[in-house]
């Protein structure tokens, strides 16, 4: 499918940012330092308003191209791509706000190139919200707060102590009472700072808070969550795989060794067919992800009006793509070493980053239960129920 000129323009821009990211030292991927320089590159290219319409100063591109850009940035730098992905998710979910406020927030993001982080791990439920004066006060602790430590704005998910309703605060990240624990120490995505943070008597004004009502908009926003989030995750996984593939192609071309006297390595028939297999696996993932993005794009355009069939079809396409992409990322990021050979394991190359990143993020929710979900549709024609992971 051909792209609009505007989409192509933004994609090219993002690729240029990706090329700049690649010029930084590969070893930084293993460091825990915040990716400040990297985020600045994204901001100065305007990528913080990727998922915002032109009417609010944003890129105004299709959801499919948003996903492609997340994939490209992730291929260049796994942590940065994942941060961009989560930012996009936070932006999309601003649809929960009433239209006037959403417009104001989107314009603020666009003009300031704010980087957002959202904090809502559905398996935890440990931030309490209480009314205080005309506002509210937040207390508690959260884990897996990707990017929160260097965000400009935070979405914090809490629960009203009295009513049990979900409450979302959208506030500056430097609000008093917020402490980042800088305790992210996982095998991959080292620079996303996905550690924990705590909020202690954090004050939130009434107009900074959205309380989920039992209405259609809330239901629609909940129904959007998994298709949108998992579509982005899928493109992060494909980004890891794409980055691995490109790194291997470059290395084999420059330094690879063929078997015995076969030279250059790029003419070793078994190396060539290994790349063929990697290509097929990768492209199948991309084709599925793009197909899913088209369906999710329909939901986003229709929001808050889409029906169960549209949501169900999108959810299944997203889950199908996520399964394939998870497997492809883990498999490709490990397979690339075989054509590259033993010397490629030198830590200066940091070629393990693709596998580390893939292996870390694909643990978000268990793959085999996604297979079950898709199988239940394939066999019993049942759509997944709307839930935190489905």
């Amino acid at each position: 499918m051909s792209k609009s000129e505007n989409d192509a323009f933004w994609l090219d821009k993002a690729k240029a940012v990706g090329a700049d990211l690649m010029r930084l030292d590969a070893r930084r991927h293993h460091e825990q330092a915040p990716p400040t320089a990297e985020l600045d590159l994204l901001k100065s290219a305007g990528l913080m308003s990727l998922a915002i319409g032109r009417e609010n100063g944003g890129a105004g591109i299709s959801w499919r191209t948003v996903n492609e850009i997340v994939r490209e940035i992730t291929a260049a730098d796994g942590s940065v791509g994942v941060l961009l992905g989560y930012h996009v998710i936070s932006v999309v979910h601003l649809r929960r706000e009433d239209p006037t406020r959403r417009q104001a927030l989107e314009r603020e993001i666009t003009s300031n190139q704010f980087f957002l982080a959202g904090v809502a791990n559905p398996r935890d439920d440990d931030i309490q919200v209480e009314p205080l004066g005309g506002g509210y006060i937040f207390n508690g602790r959260k884990s897996f707060c990707t990017g929160a430590a260097f965000a400009d704005r935070l979405t914090i998910y809490g629960r009203m102590a009295e009513t049990g309703q979900a409450a979302l605060a959208y506030i500056p990240a430097n609000r008093a009472g917020i402490t980042y624990h800088h305790d992210w120490d996982n095998l991959g995505l080292c620079r996303t700072e996905s550690g924990s943070f705590s909020v202690e008597n954090v004050r939130v004004q009434a107009d900074e808070l959205t309380i989920e009502a039992d209405d259609e908009r809330t239901a629609s926003i909940r129904a959007l969550r998994t298709p949108v989030n998992h579509n982005i995750f899928t493109n992060c996984y494909l980004g890891f795989a794409l980055g691995a593939f490109r790194a291997a192609r470059k290395y084999v071309g420059e330094k690879g060794q063929g078997w015995q006297k076969l030279q250059p390595a790029a003419e070793d028939p078994l190396i060539v067919t290994q790349f063929g297999d990697i290509w097929v696996e990768l492209q199948a993932g991309i084709a599925l992800a793009e197909r899913a993005a088209l369906k999710v794009g329909v939901l986003l355009e229709g929001y808050p009006n889409f029906d169960e069939k549209q949501r169900g079809d999108a959810a299944i396409d997203v889950a199908t793509a996520k399964i394939h992409a998870s497997r492809a990322a883990i498999s490709i990021s490990s397979k690339i070493f075989e054509p590259m050979g033993a010397r490629s394991t030198h830590n200066r190359n940091a070629f393990d980053r693709f596998w580390r990143d893939s292996r870390t993020h694909t643990l978000h929710d268990p793959l085999i239960y996604k297979v079950f979900e898709v199988g239940d549709f394939a066999l019993n024609q049942r759509y997944p129920e709307v839930g935190p992971y489905s």
Binding site: Q260, I330, F337, E338, T345, R359, T362, L363, I368, F372
Partner: protein, 393 residues
């Protein structure tokens, strides 16, 4: 001649070797993760390995050794590697270069080096050169003077003897056994691979090292003639991969039993009862048992070729080892990655350092490319084509 100073226990037979290995493994497993994380070389552990007598256990009986079988040696290596795969790899060149003495050593070499191995002395190795292969190697033995630079010299940092591959004045491949304290020899701690981090696989530099005739082994004969030198080396590499796979699966078992949370939709209250989990694990267990069987099978072929070396027996041994190597490689990679999938999100915390199994597997399985091994196996089965003779099959 060198004075033997170390004293090691004398291993009497194959069963004792297996017992000793099991005891050492228990010891080595305790701090393996910490050593990997902090890149601490296993100095005390290699001393314990040396004192155990395992280094001399392959010495022929007429020289006082137990001449343990290759099946046993590969099991010993797998057991040690399960505990700490770097320690499993460190003596791999030792065994190869002591066995080389058995095959083509002169009487004086056999007498000296076998006595040293029995005494617990470790033989390192220095063969690979950056960007060079056998023909373009620039390490030379001119008269009695050795010069060259090697890398990936596993074990040499701990070694008492550093055998160095070189070309002699006639252009023939030789292996020069240089004492670690020789003047002009440097062994550098510069190995920075992403896995097998504590194998001490650094560089070896020889600058005008003076050598005596008796130290020079006719390396070319190891490949000109049919010998088990190639398949023997690969057999031990296979055992290391198998050990890594077992280590990953052992952590997998612990995690699924003790730490993994059941998934909300599973309808069970323990992760270990989830049939989707047990099914994935069961598939790997089968592969593990198959790989163990294939390692024993390969060891049997190497034993046969060692006793009756010929083009055919050595070729068959190479093929059988190649088969075992591919299965062990794939299992080690799959198990060390699947581990996370079944153990859950918490398993990716660096404090648990579970990724070391994958890093070890991915690094070690690249030692020689697996991609041509199925071709070697298929050509033999289909066309009766014997594999080429070199260290990689």
């Amino acid at each position: 001649m060198k004075q033997v100073q170390k004293v090691a226990h004398l291993i009497r037979d194959d069963n004792e070797a297996l017992d000793v290995a099991a005891r050492l493994a228990e010891l080595f497993a305790q701090e393996a993760s910490a050593r990997d994380r902090d890149r601490v070389l296993p100095v005390a552990e290699i001393q314990a390995y040396s004192a155990s007598g395992l280094l001399g256990a392959i010495v022929p009986k007429r020289f006082g050794g137990a001449a343990i079988s290759n099946v046993t040696l590969s099991r010993v290596t797998a057991t040690i590697s399960e505990a700490d795969s770097s320690i499993g790899q460190i003596p791999q060149p030792h065994y190869c270069l002591v066995d080389a003495v058995r095959i083509v050593g002169t009487p004086i070499q056999q007498e000296t080096f076998f006595a040293d191995a029995l005494a617990g002395k470790l033989f390192g190795n220095a063969v690979s050169e950056v960007g060079k292969d056998y023909e373009t190697s620039t390490t030379t033995l001119k008269g009695s003077v050795l010069n060259g630079r090697k890398f990936y010299s596993t074990g040499s940092l701990f070694a008492d003897w550093v055998p160095i591959a070189a070309k002699d004045d006639h252009g023939k491949a030789v292996m020069v056994y240089v004492p670690a304290e020789a003047i002009g020899l440097s062994v550098l701690d510069d190995w920075t691979g992403m896995g097998q981090r504590t194998t001490a696989s650094g560089s070896v530099v020889a600058e005008n090292v003076e050598v005596q005739d008796w130290q020079v082994l006719a390396r070319h004969r190891l490949f000109d003639e049919p010998t088990i030198h190639g398949p023997f080396a690969q057999l031990l590499h296979t055992a290391i991969d198998l050990g890594i796979a077992r280590a990953a699966m052992s952590d997998l078992r612990d995690w699924v039993q003790k730490r993994a949370r059941p998934w909300k939709d599973s309808g069970v209250n323990q992760a270990s009862s989830d049939p989707l989990t047990t099914t994935s694990i069961g598939r790997m267990v089968m592969q593990l048992h198959a790989a163990e069987g294939m390692l024993d099978r390969a060891g049997g072929y190497v034993d046969e070729a060692s006793a009756n070396p010929s083009d055919v027996t050595v070729g068959e041994a190479s093929v059988a080892v190649a088969e075992a190597k591919v299965l062990a490689t794939e299992l080690a990679l799959a198990a060390s990655s699947m581990l996370f999938e079944l153990a859950g999100t918490q398993s990716s915390l660096e404090e648990h350092n579970l990724a070391r199994h994958w890093r070890n597997a991915r690094t070690h399985t690249l030692h020689d490319p697996v991609r041509w091994k199925p071709h070697v196996v298929g050509s033999f089965w289909l066309n009766n084509a014997l594999p080429p003779r070199h260290g990689s099959v």
